[in-house]
Symmetry: D2
């Protein structure tokens, strides 16, 4: 199926290019990987927010393998609220009732073990979609001298898109390997990839990302 | 024409509700109005980013009239960079080349006179899509005791959407009167309204917003 | 002993008042309590950062009692870094080597049990001095409709002062009950109280804070 | 005169070093200069906030000369509020009544001409003490690949200190050439230099900063 708002519609893309969008940011010298919400709440199909993310998981593991070989900084995120939901707050719980389930310490927010998170790869419990909002992620990246973030995980139209926007806002080069992000809604996935590529970062093929990482230094 | 990713698709909406999105945030006690980028660069069809925003302008003026009668805080935004584009930065100018045109003091970034901005309604020169990023808008709103933001202006899929997300992130109730926002791309407009209503704020009819404002106090 | 830079020096105070500092912010309608770093690393005299904070602890417990009677929001902080110290970062560990000891899950960063933290009183692991930096505290307070923060804990010249500045920056009224904050350095304590009262919030007597809380509603 | 809380008190310094403060951050690869509030409101002795800053001005001009020779990014700040003081807000105007005078477009907030600001050196109108609060300065610095900020200007205990703290918070190396900062209050100046050197950045001699800049590349 094709979608009216999609990266793969050449006419739409031309419209955006004419309006001064869709430039290329390219790679900087010092990339890091942000792995967004690869936890049970999103990857278990029995969960309210869950979808089939197995192919995404495989692609993420590939990116992690290449990044670890290069010794790149890697940061994982999940979402987690305190028992009283104060870190969510009344507006967040009203608009997105699934927030009520994302409790600190619960199995639901635990990362998928296939990711093999290491001790020197921080896990950040973020309170909103963007990995940068209400967290210390930006300072971590500045401290590591990072100028490029490879964003992978779920969901394309939610936490991935918001994280890309935040990275762009801070003048970090954002790279999204297309096969390493996914969404429960195919139409939202298509629209978000278009938006990300037009406004925030370069949506590219997984193999191009892996090839670039392998040729670093 | 209908769009695959649209607020008006009842099946899509049901999918989102089932996943714990699309709750209602409703009105708080103390609303403010954020008028996003109603300046020549966006509303003049001869401009690179321009589109026909005359109907939007009329709706925005209606909202301003009702808000001024109630003495609500009103903040206007436009985008503006220094001559060296340092406040844009290399990533922003690479991804969105139209940024190079948004220079401080230029006619392009001047608000439309029909808005009738008053001296006690601040004009904020924001550097990114969200009215909250790299500006003092949040502190202004906290200082005024605001708990609700009515977001109007252009473009739905860009600065309006990002401003809604930031408001939501800070636990402000976000209200978007549908007729008072627009976008150069109809498919992007449809997808963004769906996203805003699902995740960040309540997309409602202009007449309902006006009616609510008129009954305050 | 008296200090050259102290709140209790009437001449210094006059100099500041003449320069347009030292106004009163007063109480708003909706206070919350921020309890800063009342954990073993700061209150155990055997610790590198520790000092005798028993009198401070008693005063903090008094404030908590009055606040709980009124059902006010209460947020506790401590400092905690990931094992690789990425959330500290190279600059932070270089300038303040004690940061290396503040590891997530360690006994050192555990709150003092006398505080009796309840499940609906969030504990925030902050990465820097201010309770607001790199955390979601501001959004929590906005979500609760808070307009006033009572700041208590340690150390006056470090995390307390920085938290007061952040609250002020966001247009929250900051109240510091003098007996409920302390510092390992008496000269730093004196200078910080002067600074806070001149620039960020009202330094007041504990009994006045307790009296105000008891008369609410 | 000596002050009880001063950088030049070796015993106080030892106490701080023992508590894990006062490490050296040193120089990174890519410095920028932040020139804080060298405008009439602070440097004209007839102004409410003014003090004699002529020696400071000379030192700042020296730093600018060396930085311009190396082509380093330079950002200037001043403070400026909208006519309705919404960007100040009720708490800020209550605590620091001098804020009411800092109006956009007034002569009072204009930079000293001796600084010779160039078109490619942005001037940021900041709303609070820190150059980073409510502004886009951090994103500018990330976009320029900056890892070190040389902070100069006035006042040591106010805007300089706060800017140093923000830089440190974001893992930027902060360098303060001692002769290039000053304060209307000598006791506040002494206490702030001690605090900055203990917690946020390296307070060093002007000649050492100039020598370092001249040997770059």
């Amino acid at each position: 199926m094709t979608y009216a708002h999609s990266l793969d519609d050449p006419e739409l893309r031309r419209l955006y290019e004419d309006a001064g969008f869709c430039g290329r940011v390219g790679w900087g010298r010092a990339p890091a990987v942000l792995v967004i919400d690869m936890a049970n709440a999103w990857t278990d199909r029995g969960e309210q927010l869950g979808s089939d993310a197995e192919a995404t998981l495989t692609a993420v593991v590939d990116v992690l393998g290449a990044a670890r070989e290069q010794g790149l900084p890697i940061v994982f995120t999940t979402m987690a609220y305190d028992a009283a939901l104060m870190s969510a707050g009344p507006v967040v719980t009203a608009k997105t009732p699934h927030s009520r389930l994302m409790l600190q310490g619960s199995d639901r927010i635990r990362l998928r073990p296939e990711l093999g998170r290491r001790d020197d790869e921080p896990l950040v419990e973020k309170p909103r979609a963007s990995a940068f909002f209400g967290t210390n992620v930006l300072s971590m990246l500045v401290g590591q001298g990072v100028d490029t973030v490879i964003v992978v995980g779920v969901s394309t139209s939610g936490c991935v898109r918001s994280t890309c926007e935040s990275g762009f806002n801070h003048n970090l080069r954002v790279i999204v390997p297309r096969e390493a992000v996914s969404d429960r809604s195919p139409s939202a996935h298509a629209a978000a990839l278009m938006d990300i590529d037009a406004r925030f970062g370069d949506v590219t093929r997984l193999e191009d990302v892996l090839a670039h990482l392998r040729t670093m230094r």
